[in-house]
Symmetry: C2
C-alpha cells in the first residue's frame, strides 16, 4: 500500500481505466490506441479492461461521449438564449471554450478526427439538427448582416476559438514556440475574440 504511484492509488480500478482511456484515446485516436496501452497507463491487467467495460469499443464510446459533451455542451444553450446580445454570446462562448480547451487541448482534434473516421456513428448522436439555424444567435446575426450567411460568422467564431488548439502542434513545429507561451497566447485571445468578432460583423 505504501508504494502506489501516488495519483491513482485512491481511485477505483474502473476509474483508473477510464482515466487512462481518456488520456490515450484523446492523444492518439481510436485506431492508434492499443488496449494494452490503456492497461499499462492505468497500471492494471489487460483482462480487467474487458471485465469492466466489455470491449475497447464500449470504453471508447464512454470517452468520446464525454468529450463531445465538453466540446458541444455549452454552445447550444448559449446560442439559444433570446435575452443575450450577440456580443454577450460571443464573449460567453469565447471565455468558456478557451478555459475549457486550455485544460483539454486535445479534444477538438480528437473529436473532429473521430467524426471524420465514422460520421454515421455520430449522426444520430448529434440530435442538434436544425437547432443552430433556428437559434437566437442565428437570427440576431441575420438581422445585423442580412447580406452575409450567418453560418460564416459561426465559422469565424469557432475558427478563432478552436483553430489555435488544433494547429498548436504545427505552430510549435514551425515557430518553435514554447508550450507555456502557447497557453499564454490562448488566454490573451479570450479578451480579443469578442472585439475581433464585432469588427468582422461591421466590416465591408
Amino acid at each position: 500500500m505504501a508504494k502506489q504511484t501516488a495519483k491513482k492509488a485512491d481511485l477505483s480500478t474502473e476509474e483508473k481505466i477510464k482515466d487512462a482511456a481518456r488520456k490515450v484515446f484523446t492523444q492518439k485516436g481510436y485506431a492508434a490506441t492499443r488496449t494494452r496501452d490503456i492497461a499499462e497507463e492505468a497500471g492494471i491487467n489487460l483482462a480487467l479492461l474487458n471485465y469492466y467495460f466489455r470491449s475497447k469499443e464500449k470504453l471508447f464510446e464512454i470517452v468520446i461521449l464525454e468529450k463531445m459533451q465538453i466540446l458541444l455542451g455549452k454552445i447550444g444553450p448559449t446560442i439559444m438564449d433570446e435575452r443575450t446580445s450577440i456580443e454577450q454570446k460571443v464573449e460567453q462562448i469565447a471565455e468558456h471554450y478557451i478555459d475549457t480547451l486550455v485544460a483539454n487541448p486535445d479534444i477538438p482534434l480528437f473529436v473532429l478526427g473521430e467524426i471524420r473516421n465514422n460520421p454515421d456513428k455520430f449522426a444520430n448522436l448529434v440530435r442538434t439538427k436544425t437547432k443552430i439555424v433556428d437559434s437566437a444567435f442565428f437570427k440576431q446575426l441575420a438581422e445585423r448582416r442580412p447580406d452575409i450567411d450567418p453560418l460564416h460568422f459561426i465559422l469565424n467564431m469557432l475558427g478563432l476559438i478552436i483553430f489555435p488548439f488544433i494547429g498548436k502542434p504545427l505552430l510549435q513545429l514551425i515557430t518553435g514556440i514554447k508550450p507555456e507561451r502557447a497557453v499564454t497566447l490562448m488566454k490573451e485571445r479570450k479578451t480579443w475574440i469578442k472585439t475581433w468578432f464585432l469588427a468582422m460583423l461591421e466590416a465591408n
Copy 2:
C-alpha cells in the same frame, strides 16, 4: 483491356497504388488504414504494394510529404515577400488555400492529426523554424499593431481559412447542410476573409 475500371486503366501500377494510398490515408489516417484497403482501392494484389514501396510506412511517407507540401508550400514564399502589403498577402493566401482545400478538403485534418500522433517524426522535416517570426508579414503586422502579438493574426488568418474544412464534418452533422452548399460557402469566404482580416487588424 476493354474492361478496366476506366479511370485507372491507363495509370501505371505504381501510380495506381499511390493514388489509392493518397485517398485512403488522407481519409482515414495512418493507423486506421489497412494495406489491404489500399490494395483493394487500387485494384491490385497486396504483395505489389510491398514490391513497389517496401512497406506501409514508406508509402505513407511519400503521401504525407506531398500533402504537407500542399498545405505549407505556398505560405512561406508569400509571407517572406517584402514587396507586397499585408492586404495583398492575406488575399493571396486566402485565395490560394481555399481553392486548394476545396479540391483537397481532407488535407488539414489528415496532416494535423498525423503531426499530433508523431510530432518527433516531422520535427526535422519542417525546417521553417524561426522563419515565420522573421518574415516580412510578421514585421508588417508588428508595425501596424505593436500592441498585439503578430502570431494572433497569423492564427486568425489560418483559423478563418482552414477551420471550416476541419469542422465541415461536424458542421454537416449539426446543421444538416448539403456538401454542395458547404463548397459554395467556402468559396464565398475567399472574398470576405481579406475584409474580415483587415477589420480585425483595426479593431479596438
